[in-house]
């Protein structure tokens, strides 16, 4: 099955970092995507306040994903980044706009609306670009030797647009369920309503991507449907169904915390599905994790740090979330 060697360990570490990024920045990008639906200043202040103390930490996982990949799988980093040139640049610029908005919108009265647009637009662009990048990776990348050998528009296909839209919907759902958890009153009611709509849209998106992915490459089809793989892959869609039922129930019962964490579970399952499709390739159909791996001593050197520091980071990150736990109230945020 899966061998237990350094490249595999590192593949799981990078996958973990990227997943933590997706769920953590996912909900705060989602808040940006939902921003236009909450035009009242008071609501926007609350939404902003609910993530202001943690957004920077959330985004750091993106730097770890990128930096970690350069360190552990330099060849993959060197091939993927030029291949995804336009979506990556778009994502970075989107993150610039939304990141500065956290502080800028409190520093001006007259231009606040401009930074609200920057926050919403930047979040939407960043989410869409990430989803498109994911689709572009899945559909395969043209590699020759140790270089990307495709054109600079190769990433743009109906499939990558589909994954882009799917991720935007998913992030919006994370954002909506986050608001359910962190707010009260009218704001929370609207977040419930949005969660319903977005959940249905997300299920449609998961379905569409799931149907489309196995047909991109023979390998994906084989991976999912061939005997005996199906014994191992079948639980994923079954679990998705189970989580969906729980999620619908928690929304119907107007629970505070469950919708957010069940949405996280939905993300985790989709992500596991992604892993099943891709493994052991890091650039699908071209470069495996063993081909891309940096030398053993680089991976070992970092493994020492990671095994001590990641638990520590998770610890103090959890503490920061704990400090700012509970509902955020209008007019008395921690701002």
């Amino acid at each position: 099955m899966i061998p237990f060697d350094l490249p595999t360990i590192w593949a799981f570490i990078i996958a973990f970092a990227v997943f933590v990024y997706i769920v953590m920045d996912g909900f705060d990008l989602g808040l940006g995507i939902l921003f236009p639906l909450f035009p009242a200043k008071q609501d926007r202040d609350v939404i902003m306040n609910s993530v202001a103390p943690v957004w920077d930490g959330n985004e750091t996982w993106l730097v770890l994903g990128g930096g970690g990949m350069m360190a552990a799988f330099p060849l993959a980093y060197a091939v993927l980044m030029p291949a995804l040139y336009t979506p990556i640049i778009a994502m970075l610029l989107g993150l610039v706009f939304r990141g500065v908005a956290f502080e800028f919108r409190w520093r001006t009265q007259s231009e606040r609306n401009r930074w609200d647009i920057a926050f919403a637009g930047g979040s939407l662009v960043a989410a869409l670009a990430q989803g498109i990048a994911l689709g572009a990776i899945l559909q395969g990348i043209h590699v020759e030797g140790r270089h990307y050998a495709g054109g600079w528009w190769d990433w743009l296909t109906p499939f990558s647009i589909l994954t882009g839209a799917a991720l935007v919907i998913g992030y919006a759902l994370l954002g909506a369920t986050w608001l359910v958890m962190k707010t009260e009153g009218g704001l929370r009611d609207r977040a419930y309503h949005l969660s319903w709509v977005l959940l249905i849209a997300m299920l449609a998106a998961i379905g569409a991507v799931s149907i489309a992915t196995p047909f991109l490459h023979v390998q994906y089809t084989h991976r999912w449907f061939a005997w005996p793989n199906i014994i191992l892959t079948a639980p994923v869609p079954i679990a998705v169904a189970a989580v969906t039922v729980l999620l619908l129930r928690s929304l119907a019962n107007k629970f505070d915390y469950q919708p957010f964490f069940l949405t996280l579970a939905l993300f985790a399952l989709s992500y596991a599905g992604l892993g099943i499709s891709m493994y052991p390739f890091i650039v699908p159909q071209s470069i495996t994790i063993w081909q891309a791996a940096s030398p053993e001593n680089s991976q070992i050197f970092m493994l020492f740090g990671v095994s001590v520091l990641i638990p520590l980071i998770l610890g103090y990150t959890a503490w920061a979330y704990w400090v700012f736990r509970g509902k955020v109230r209008a007019g008395s945020g921690y701002h």
Partner: protein, 469 residues
């Protein structure tokens, strides 16, 4: 725009542009984080209200500057891959881990405690809050450690080998991390960050003293900043001199470009103060020189021979005019900063630190000097190591991504537009914050809840409007 530029030149322009925008924010936030930790410590120690007022005042400024540093920094971490993929593939095994350690030991530490530092004073209590401030300050220094180690390895690579597929690999991590130029570069950069912050703090203090010399906050910050300039500027000049000697040993061509030495000198090289280096004619035109002084500075002997660029193959020459002039800008500002420090010391000794308008005007004018000196210094060291990315081993032209020029040109234009729009707005907001004097009952980054501690100096209108839950 940019027609006729090739993809590598465009990628270099993009790196230079995004890096120059980025570097000013960390340079400021490294110093400011330490300053905030000092202010909070002084407040906890003495209980004097002026310190918490100054803390909250500068905390608001820190929040804005730090945010800009974060978003421009994420761009840098991905630009290695997007524009310099060949470099990433070849050097990833060596500098990748250094940058990964930067993320793990520094970025998370800063980001993890930043929220508590900015918004958590009321929630976690004074001691824990001080710890958060300290963690952020330490994080900025750890970050400097790793990124300067990575940069220094590119300048003076040691401890590596090259594997079968042409990648650099570490043979000895200790030698990679503590490569020959690293200690000098680290000291020089951290001191530069401290001075940069001190000059900004001093300029803001001076601005408010010029309007009202009795304000407590501006007096305290001006005095602290001037102590910093007085004490650290001379140390920085010494550190810079040592860094230069180290560069002479390991990257002689860079020093030749800095000095404008196209020709070798057998018995004593002149110090060229000013002039116009002409690379095609290989000489410095219109130069003003002091005979033999360069040999004295670099070799500590009037008559020491000093090699020139005529000993270096032409294809390995750095761009001399940029290196030559940026170096002079940096050194000139360094001496001006020391001058400011000495002037303030004189006035302090005479008991006129808060009354001397000329000093205040000088300090105000010097407000941006640290940023300009930092940029000039980085331009010196980065253009001076051209045409290599890994000095002597990997050429810049062999480091770039296989991208078409229009792709790089488009992204460069996008960065220019976005950065100017966003960061100019940010600088305006920062200046607006600085234009207000710190006042009694100064509050933290948000106005609707007091960030300062209850119970020290309860002032009207700042009683907690509801603890947050």
């Amino acid at each position: 725009m940019f027609e006729g530029w090739d993809a590598v030149v465009l990628a270099r322009a993009q790196f230079a542009f995004t890096m120059s925008f980025h570097i000013v924010f960390p340079a400021f936030s490294i110093g400011l984080a330490s300053y905030l930790a000092v202010l909070e410590a002084l407040w906890l120690w003495t209980g004097r209200e002026v310190f918490i007022n100054l803390f909250n005042y500068w905390l608001k400024i820190f929040a804005v500057a730090f945010g800009m540093g974060v978003v421009s920094g994420i761009v840098m971490s991905y630009q290695f891959g997007t524009n310099w993929s060949a470099f990433s593939d070849k050097t990833g095994p060596v500098i990748g881990p250094l940058m990964a350690y930067e993320v793990l030991t520094a970025f998370f530490l800063e980001a993890g405690f930043l929220g508590v530092m900015l918004f958590g004073l009321e929630r976690v209590g004074h001691r824990l809050h001080f710890m958060a401030t300290l963690m952020v300050a330490i994080g900025t220094l750890i970050s400097a450690f790793w990124i300067l180690s990575a940069n220094s390895w590119m300048q003076t690579p040691t401890g590596h080998a090259i594997n079968a597929v042409g990648q650099f690999v570490a043979a000895d991590w200790f030698k990679v991390i503590f490569n020959p130029s690293f200690p000098y570069r680290l000291v020089h950069m951290v001191l530069a960050a401290y001075l940069t912050t001190a000059l900004v703090v001093g300029a803001v203090g001076a601005y408010h003293l010029l309007r009202d010399r009795h304000l407590a906050g501006p007096r305290v910050m001006f005095s602290m900043a001037m102590w910093m300039a007085t004490l650290v500027a001379p140390i920085q000049i010494l550190a810079g001199d040592q860094h230069g000697l180290n560069t002479l040993e390991h990257q002689p061509a860079k020093v030749m470009a800095m000095e404008g030495h196209f020709q070798s000198h057998k018995d004593g090289a002149p110090l060229i103060l000013f002039g116009w280096p002409d690379m095609t004619e290989a000489k410095v035109k219109y130069s003003i020189e002091v005979p033999k002084l360069s040999s004295l500075i670099l070799k500590h002997s009037w008559d020491a021979p000093l090699a020139g660029l005529d000993t270096v193959p032409r294809e390995n020459w750095p761009p001399v005019p940029i290196t030559f002039w940026s170096f002079r800008v940096m050194v000139g500002l360094g001496f001006l900063i020391m001058g400011l420090g000495l002037f303030s010391l004189l006035m302090r000794w005479r008991g006129k630190l808060y009354e001397t308008r000329l000093l205040h005007m000088f300090a105000m004018a010097m407000g941006p000097a640290g940023f300009i000196a930092v940029l000039a210094g980085w331009i010196t060291t980065e253009t001076g190591r051209q045409p290599f990315t890994v000095y002597g081993l990997l050429r810049t032209v062999d480091s770039a991504s296989p991208l078409a020029a229009p792709a790089v040109a488009s992204s460069l234009i996008a960065f220019i537009i976005v950065y100017f729009a966003v960061f100019i707005a940010g600088v305006i907001y920062l200046l607006r914050l600085m234009a207000q004097p710190p006042h009694h009952g100064e509050q933290g980054p948000r106005t609707d809840v007091p960030a300062r501690a209850a119970g020290i100096t309860p002032a009207a209108g700042t009683v907690a409007e509801g603890g947050v839950r």
